[in-house]
Amino acid sequence: MSELLKIEGLEVSFDDPAHRGEGGVARAVRGIDLVLGSNESLALVGESGSGKTAAVKAIMRLHDPTKTRVSGRIALEGRELSAMSEREMEGIRGRLVSMVFQDPMTSLNPVLRVGDQVAEAVSLSRGLNRRSARAVALELFAKAGIPSPEALFRRYPHEFSGGMLQRAMILIALAASPKLLIADEPTTALDVTVQVQILELIERQRRELGTALILVTHDMGVVAERTERAAVMYAGRIVESGRTLELLAKPLHPYSEGLLDALPRPGTRGEKLKTIDGFAPSVFEEAPGCPFAPRCRYVQRPCLAEIPALTEAATGRRVACHRARELDLRGIA
């Protein structure tokens, strides 16, 4: 498997004049390293505010440069993205890396027909004229399992259901057969019943096109388990990564354990859902010790002194926890 994406020491911070008292800089991503092979799928898991979206938007260079500082290296197929001009980036976006957003209801243009928006992406990426782009788009509609494609093709976004729109959005994002698809919580805004269908559509399309996937999610269960590898983010850092099934079965970081423990599962009817006590640390400050220490049930003195580095714990498993070796944490079967 060749290396498609390599991220080293990525940091993203936003200027936030409203919080001048706390330094005025929100440090959303605090140094992450990540490698993704072509065709590989990776789940980026974490709670709201953990920096997942800020990190993936940095890959596409979608941050507003006047309010955001991005540092570190992001190389796509060996080419450093930060060195590229905005025009070169326009050629990368959509063609090499593409993105599906959380809320399909607002990510499509409300006043243009859905079919035309799919056709637009097709025509741009394949250099087709309007008529043949429409024909291709219509085929894609049918292939994506959109019922009565001809009728829906001429409809506007508000006439679609969320699930159908997300299908269209996936078609648009994959129109140019990109090497990497970033799906930012693609099922969060949708009914649970269509969640699986959307994930399956992404999986099917991606296999067909040979596209790698970064799936951003806060769902450790249904969503994450469909990927090959997973990385858990907490307070702007990756705290654990490894093969998804291994990570789910036996987490090495107490935070991962907490996330897994918080999942509702059959046979626990009547019991209160578990939560992780406390709050994520402020994005404006940096405490000296492990960011998770204040909420960790296994916390000990060294945890408060030094930030643990992400180190290899077993083959293909990395974890950032001082006590990873001694702890025996519980996962889900």
Binding site: E90, F101, S107, Y156, E159
Partner: protein, 277 residues
């Protein structure tokens, strides 16, 4: 579900009346050669200042020219000039507004400050200064009014664009590698269009008024061409003898301007009602 014709149903009776009046006047102007009973420039001194009769529906002016025919042809000039003013200022203003709103930064600051200065002057005064500098004539009147109408359109489009560019569909477009120009003109513009349309309707009315004022002052159309403003100016000489010569173009101007205003307001209201649903 989209309902066709809901626009007309939602518009008030005033809007519908205004729409009918506008259409009637536009039709008469377009078909002036057919609608007008006489050549508007044919002088017939023997029937100078003739009162309304079956031969001359609105009577004749001092040179014996048929007033009804002159009104129809004058409307042609007036409406066409106003159309040009609105078309030019809207095209330029929209482009600048989109760029300022979407790009932001120094481009926005520069345009906004420059237009703040322009907006500080009364529109007509500014147009008069421009026309005085470049000479009289309808082309210069149109050009100067076009310039004067740009800032308002730019401001409107810019503020709407500022709202739009924060919406997820714009970011999604960027994530697909769409160029700024494509996002601005193909994606943001249609979303701004309803607002723009309202402003265009209202501007149309005002530009007729301003053009008439310029022609009245002799800075607009030059003889033998005439428009409603020039007709008003001509009528001054015989105001006491034949007030209808001034009343006819004056009323025409008033009706068109009020109609466009009502129509613009009606459009705005129905767009807002639609948005709220």
């Amino acid at each position: 579900m989209r309902r066709r014709g809901s626009m007309a149903a939602m518009a008030g009776p005033a809007t519908i009346v205004a729409g009918i009046l506008i259409s009637a006047i536009v039709l008469v102007s377009i078909f002036a050669p057919i609608a007008a009973p006489y050549d508007p420039d044919r002088e017939e001194l023997s029937s100078s200042l003739a009162p309304p009769s079956s031969a001359h529906l609105l009577g004749t002016d001092r040179l014996g020219r048929d007033l009804a025919s002159r009104l129809a042809y004058g409307g042609r000039t007036t409406l066409l000039s106003a159309l040009l003013v609105v078309a030019i200022s809207t095209a330029v203003g929209t482009a600048l507004g989109l760029v300022a709103g979407y790009r932001g930064g120094w481009v926005d600051s520069l345009l906004s400050r420059a237009f703040d200065v322009l907006l500080a002057f009364p529109a007509l005064l500014l147009a008069l200064v421009v026309a005085a500098a470049f000479g009289r004539g309808i082309e210069n009147a149109i050009a100067s009014l076009s310039v004067v109408y740009v800032p308002m359109i730019t401001r409107l489009v810019r503020s709407a664009c500022l709202v739009e560019r924060k919406l997820p569909y714009v970011e999604a477009g960027r994530a697909l590698g769409y160029s700024s120009a494509r996002i601005m003109f193909r994606h943001i513009l249609p979303n701004v269009a309803p607002l723009l349309l309202v402003q265009v309707a209202i501007d149309f009315g005002y530009s007729i008024l301003d053009l008439a004022a310029m022609s009245f002052l002799g800075l607009g159309v030059q003889p033998p061409v005439s428009d409603w403003g020039a007709m008003l100016a001509d009528a001054r000489d015989s105001l006491l003898v034949a007030p209808r010569l001034a009343l006819a173009p004056g009323l025409a101007i008033m009706i068109v301007v009020v109609s466009f205003n009502l129509f613009g307001d009606g459009l705005k209201e129905s767009f807002e009602r639609r948005r709220r649903r």
